[in-house]
């Protein structure tokens, strides 16, 4: 069998740690090869080596049987290797079209020509059902569409070997199915795909073979058909993992959040669309209510209106029976509300602050941490050390580690530690497990349930069906800015939930 890519005995060290320890990865032509491993297992490092961003200390790389030296993304591109990074590399104030052609644009007399590119992009997007608006600005489109742009970027460059780094982290179930189909089509056309993930369902669904890394070491490669989920997860984590969250039935108590007729109108000029349309619901203490739905159906706007990050156009919000519609963010935060934001880099953390400063971001002004306006550094450090211990936040230098240098999973743990340790009455968690590995997800789900059992009301916004079904006590489905159904996770089936999310079913009445 021909291998299109062979990475043999790759060793890559960083000061003090061996990120890749003698790793061998062989990808056959025309296969979907999954690379499985927890956060920090060395997957991204290995891909950076393949992409020429790092030079390995040992080992060789062969492409199509020939040994090659890859010194940078340009070399990789020339060899037909393309990559979609976990954190997208898009210019936010450029349009979709401009982003796709960036770097390979056709220039005539110093002017960029886009007609041919536009035609090719439209063709590609129809062929692979990668729907994009060529003239929309990246900053205006959803994360899901941004990813389609990234995939189109590779296809536009006629890459043969496609590396997808955690491509499904941001997609809805339907979108994931579409992506799987796209991947199958791509392979049929002779492309080879290297699929980095820690989601076992997806590997089972689409991959041919799977290589597993753990803590920088190569554990083995299995044929996906012969291996079941339990085997692969044990290879990945090194122990048995619980896929379902152990929890008792909810014991809902008094109402903690009540939303009445909430409306958010689009602020873009010329748009009068209601992004959140007349939404009413309530959350009680001691229960987890999820808002399920496909990305971009008004969940972000709803949450931003609830927390005060953006203003609402109409309606009322009550927390602990007190109207807080017009109160500022600080007031809400100190009166029972905690918020795990959707974007941990944009909202959740001051990345240039240390871990300990980030851990008091919501409390630095409390008497506990300041005296006459002077920060009590010792107490802040002690507070951080306690949370680091309790929530198992791992970082290079402990409490003084800059947040920027921590791994995504540990950044998220820090936010969760900060928000839960305040003993909130109401926790609004948006995509709390986005981009995290099985171990971290298990941990965070446990924390959410623990918070619930301690009497906190949890409003969980999630695009992941498994998460919605596993964790919540009640499901609200949002579609085009409205709540179209309230479901019981113990009764409803995933398929039916999907129909609500797609808008083809409403309020429990069968319409089609």
């Amino acid at each position: 069998m021909d291998y299109i890519i062979e990475m043999l005995g790759i060793t890559k060290e960083f000061p003090g740690i061996i990120a890749n320890d003698d790793i061998t990865l062989q990808v056959k032509k025309g296969e979907i090869h999954a690379l499985l491993g927890e956060n920090g297992a060395g997957k991204s490092t290995l891909m950076s080596v393949l992409f020429g961003l790092y030079q390995p200390e040992k080992g060789i790389i062969k492409v199509k049987g020939k040994e090659v030296a890859i010194n940078g993304p340009t070399d990789a591109n020339a060899l037909g290797i393309g990559m979609v990074h976990q954190h997208f590399k898009l210019v936010h104030n450029f349009t979709v079209l401009q982003n796709i052609i960036l770097g390979v644009e056709e220039v005539k007399h110093g002017v960029v020509k886009t007609e041919a590119a536009r035609k090719k992009i439209v063709e590609l997007s129809q062929k692979y059902k990668l729907f994009v608006e060529p003239d929309a600005l990246i900053s205006d489109i959803t994360v899901g569409m941004q990813q389609r742009v990234e995939i189109l970027k590779m296809l536009y460059r006629d890459n043969e070997i496609l590396i997808l780094d955690e491509p499904t982290a941001v997609l809805t179930p339907q979108e994931i199915d579409e992506l799987m189909n796209i991947m199958r089509d791509l392979v049929k056309e002779g492309k080879s795909i290297l699929f980095i993930t820690h989601k076992l369902n997806e590997i089972k669904a689409v991959a041919d073979r799977c290589s597993v890394l753990r803590r920088g070491k190569y554990i083995g490669t299995v044929d996906v058909e012969d291996a079941d989920k339990e085997v692969m997860s044990e290879m990945m984590v090194g122990r048995k993992v619980n896929f379902t969250v152990a929890k008792e039935d909810a014991k809902p108590k008094e109402t903690v959040l009540e939303v009445k007729n909430l409306i958010v109108e689009s602020k873009r000029e010329g748009h009068t669309k209601r992004l959140v349309n007349d939404v009413s619901f309530s959350v009680h203490k001691g229960e987890i209510v999820s808002i399920a739905g496909i990305d971009g159906n008004g969940q972000s706007e709803l949450v931003q209106a609830l927390t005060g990050l953006s203003s609402l156009s109409g309606g009322q919000i009550f927390i602990n029976k007190e109207e807080v519609t017009k109160k500022n963010i600080r007031y809400k935060n100190t009166h029972g509300l905690s918020h795990i934001p959707e974007d941990r880099h944009k909202f959740g953390l001051v990345l240039d602050y240390t871990l300990e400063d980030n851990l008091v971001l919501q409390e630095y002004f409390e008497p506990e941490f300041q005296k006459h306006g002077i920060l009590q550094r010792e107490k802040i450090t002690k507070h951080a050390d306690e949370l680091i211990e309790e929530y198992d936040i791992r970082s290079g230098q402990g409490s003084v580690t800059p947040a920027r240098s921590m791994s995504g999973g540990n950044q998220q743990k820090a936010i969760i530690a900060r928000e839960l340790s305040r003993r909130p009455d109401l926790l609004i968690a948006v995509q709390p497990t986005r981009g995290l590995d099985v171990g971290a997800i298990e941990f965070i789900h446990k924390q959410l349930v623990k918070g619930r059992d301690e009497g906190c009301g949890v409003l969980l916004v999630s695009f992941e069906l498994d998460e919605v079904m596993n964790v919540s006590d009640r499901i609200l489905v949002m579609y085009e800015g409205e709540i179209v159904g309230e479901l019981d996770p113990k009764v409803v089936e995933i398929k039916e939930l999907g129909l609500y999310m797609a808008g083809s079913k409403r309020g429990g009445h069968h319409e089609d």
Binding site: E13, F14, P15, G16, I17, I18, A19, N39, G40, A41, G42, S44, T45, M47, S48, L53, Y54, E57, P73, H85, Q86, H87, K89, D165, G216, T307, L309, N328, I329, R330, N333, H339, P341, K346, F347, G348, L349, V350, L351, D352, Y353, D357, L361, Y364, Q370, G373, I374, L375, R394, S395, G396, Q397, T401, P402, R404, S405, M406, S407, G408, G409
Partner: protein
């Protein structure tokens, strides 16, 4: 030469002592201080080249005069260095403080001018205040500078008008307003010299014994005030909740809003405080001695722009700014004596400008040093690792090093992700 030693000691990692030394050395080398020092040396060397071109015969002795001239008259010239440093400590703080909170205050010049103007008004027309006159004058300067920065601050916070544009405009408005007022109000104007009138004796900042220590120089209590203000700013920025909020807004406006910080208020306040600092600088200079007058010329005050280089050279930290201002004053004092070697005044100004100009590269130099060090370190550690000596000590440094992210930043995205991954693995 220095780096040779560094490499050697890292590869020699078995020896704990050398390892400790190398760590210490690396820390010094990668700190901002070294970067500023390198920038200064670079600037001085370029200055030497200009001297060689302008007057080869006297170049070397001229160069030494720049370097050590500020000692040539002993305590007197040191006192003069302090005197020159006083206003630029303030304008440097005005730029650096705003910069720490995410704002580029290019309007320090205008704020400085307004501060000087307010101080001179009090100094010339309020002699009834007696011995409190200089204090009132300084307070007036602080208020005037603050007001002059308030408008750009409000515009930035509420309408997102870029502070660079609005504060540049305020610079010119300030300068022309002051020139117009001085030359049209008889009590403020001295027609003979085309400048502001003499301030009263009681408006002059007292010496507090500085004139005894630094006999013959113009230094006064203003220098002590500037130093205290720098220390105060250090405390505010790093030790208080207020500074915590200001810096948070500077780093990440969205996260600050999320955390309930009133980011509009923070931006406005930060700009206003910056203005107050620059205004104080104006007050300290123009109430510093009887001989200082506002000249009616259409030139923006250079102290404001010096503040930008001082802030850059001091890496925007208040204590760094203090030393950077002293350095620039020191060079200027040396340049003053350069006239002895028949260099024209313009050449001296050019050389000083070049040195300051290079100093502004300190950030760039720091980046370069960091990249070089992490490259060296990676290589050295790898070598040590393959020899099987990566003990627990080097482990902990390693994690820290990978954590600083400078490598990741320099080689685009995936590099960063990789860096994060590798860290996760280490702990």
């Amino acid at each position: 030469m220095k780096t040779d030693k560094n490499t050697k000691s890292v590869t020699d990692a078995q020896n704990q002592k050398t390892c400790f030394f190398s760590r210490w050395f690396t820390k010094i080398l990668s700190s901002g201080f070294t970067a500023s020092l390198f920038a200064i040396i670079l600037g001085l060397l370029t200055g030497l080249i200009i001297l060689l071109v302008a007057n080869p015969g006297q170049a070397v002795s001229g160069f030494f005069m720049i370097m050590f001239g500020a000692w040539s008259e002993g305590l007197k010239s040191i006192g003069m260095t302090f005197y020159y440093a006083t206003p630029i400590i303030c304008t440097g703080l005005a730029v650096g403080f705003a910069f720490k909170t995410g704002l580029f205050n290019i309007g320090a010049t205008g704020q400085f001018t307004m501060g000087a103007f307010a101080a001179v008004i009090v100094g010339t027309s309020c002699s009834f205040l007696g011995s409190a006159q200089w204090i009132v004058g300084l307070l007036a300067a602080v208020v005037a500078g603050a007001l002059w920065a308030l408008l750009p601050g409000l515009l930035k916070a509420f309408l997102n008008v870029h502070e660079v544009i609005s504060s540049i405009m305020m610079n010119y408005i300030g300068m022309y307003l002051v020139n117009y007022t001085v030359s049209n109000v008889p009590i403020l104007y001295n027609q003979l010299t085309n400048s502001s009138a003499q301030i009263s004796d009681t408006a002059v900042i007292p010496k507090f014994g500085m004139d005894k220590i630094f006999a013959g120089s113009a230094v006064n209590a203003g220098f002590i005030i500037a130093v205290l203000v720098a220390i105060l700013m250090h405390v505010i920025l790093n030790k208080t909740t207020f500074g915590f909020e200001l810096r948070a807004v500077g780093f990440n406006r969205n996260a600050s809003k999320y955390a309930g910080i009133n980011e509009k208020k923070s931006i406005t306040l930060s700009m206003t405080i910056a203005g107050a600092l620059a205004g104080l600088g104006g007050g300290l200079l123009f109430l510093g001695s009887l001989g200082k007058h506002i000249e009616v010329v259409d030139v923006l005050a250079s102290e404001g722009f010096d503040g930008i280089s001082v802030a850059l050279l001091g890496l925007s930290t208040p204590l760094g700014i203090l030393f950077a201002a002293l350095f620039i004053a020191y060079i200027k004092q040396g340049g003053f004596y350069l006239q002895l070697y028949e260099f024209s005044k313009e050449i001296i100004d050019i050389i000083i400008a070049v040195i300051i100009y290079f100093s502004a590269f300190s950030l760039f130099v720091r980046g370069a040093i960091k990249r070089y060090l992490s490259y060296k370190k990676e290589k050295a550690e790898a070598a040590a690792g393959s020899m099987g000596v990566s003990g627990s000590t080097s482990n902990s440094i390693g994690a820290g090093k990978a954590g600083n992210g400078s490598t990741g930043n320099s080689i685009a995205g995936a590099g960063k992700a990789g860096n994060d991954e590798s860290k996760g693995g280490s702990v």
